[in-house]
Symmetry: C2
Subunit: 131 residues, 2 copies
């Protein structure tokens, strides 16, 4: 699959089959879901595996249920691995995959694009509140 580049923006979807488009959207959603970036960040900063409880502590405001769901989704998409050590009490460790680590590059780009235009966004919102 090769993405055609034309003068038209947003054409990047066109070269995909319906299944590919669906998968790509799924991944995009899991990346941009409520808690994903925070969890990815915590794991990136850990430079190694982290137990469930440690992640729970470091992601401010997340509930245990939401964390479980977020981790499962990111695992499903191959961004992190889940390793269960069958001990009593059990130990479960989460760690970024190479894919998960590489992700920070394009995500950081988008983030910086937004960060570089914060004044424009703030101005737009301020204008909006007037009318």
């Amino acid at each position: 699959m090769v993405t055609k580049h034309t003068s038209e923006p947003f054409t990047f979807c066109d070269a995909m089959t319906q299944g590919q488009d669906r998968l790509a959207r799924e991944v995009l959603e899991s990346i941009t879901a409520r808690w994903s970036l925070s969890v990815l960040r915590v794991l990136a900063e850990a430079h190694g595996p982290l137990r469930f409880s440690r992640v729970l502590e470091r992601v401010e405001g997340i509930s245990q249920k939401a964390l479980t769901h977020t981790l499962r989704t990111l695992e499903r998409d191959g961004l992190l691995t889940r390793t269960l050590y069958p001990q009593v009490p059990p130990r479960v460790e989460y760690e970024l995959t190479t894919l998960g680590r590489d992700l920070s590059v394009p995500v950081a780009s988008l983030w910086r694009w937004i960060a570089g235009r914060l004044e424009e966004f703030a101005a737009a919102q301020a204008l909006q509140r007037q009318s």
Copy 2:
């Protein structure tokens, strides 16, 4: 505000105040919300203003309520403009701003990053379903 670049990924949040971080997240959310990309795309391809009904027709599967909400959010963030022509019956036109048009660049980057790794994502998901 200057974003510090270190070897650490995800540090791009650090140089922001809490208010800036909140705003950036708000924008990121509005961009990645359910229908935003489709709406932005339709407007980008229009090369000009588009009436509410025309957008509604071209975004497959969206409800009128969801479209109204999406348009309002994107307008609030300065990505498009809403122009009301006080006629009977009323006419309302939506058009991308420069900010909205520029957005397609970083979004396309992230999209291509994902698109270029679809096989890895598919493989990860396949593996997942086994266990």
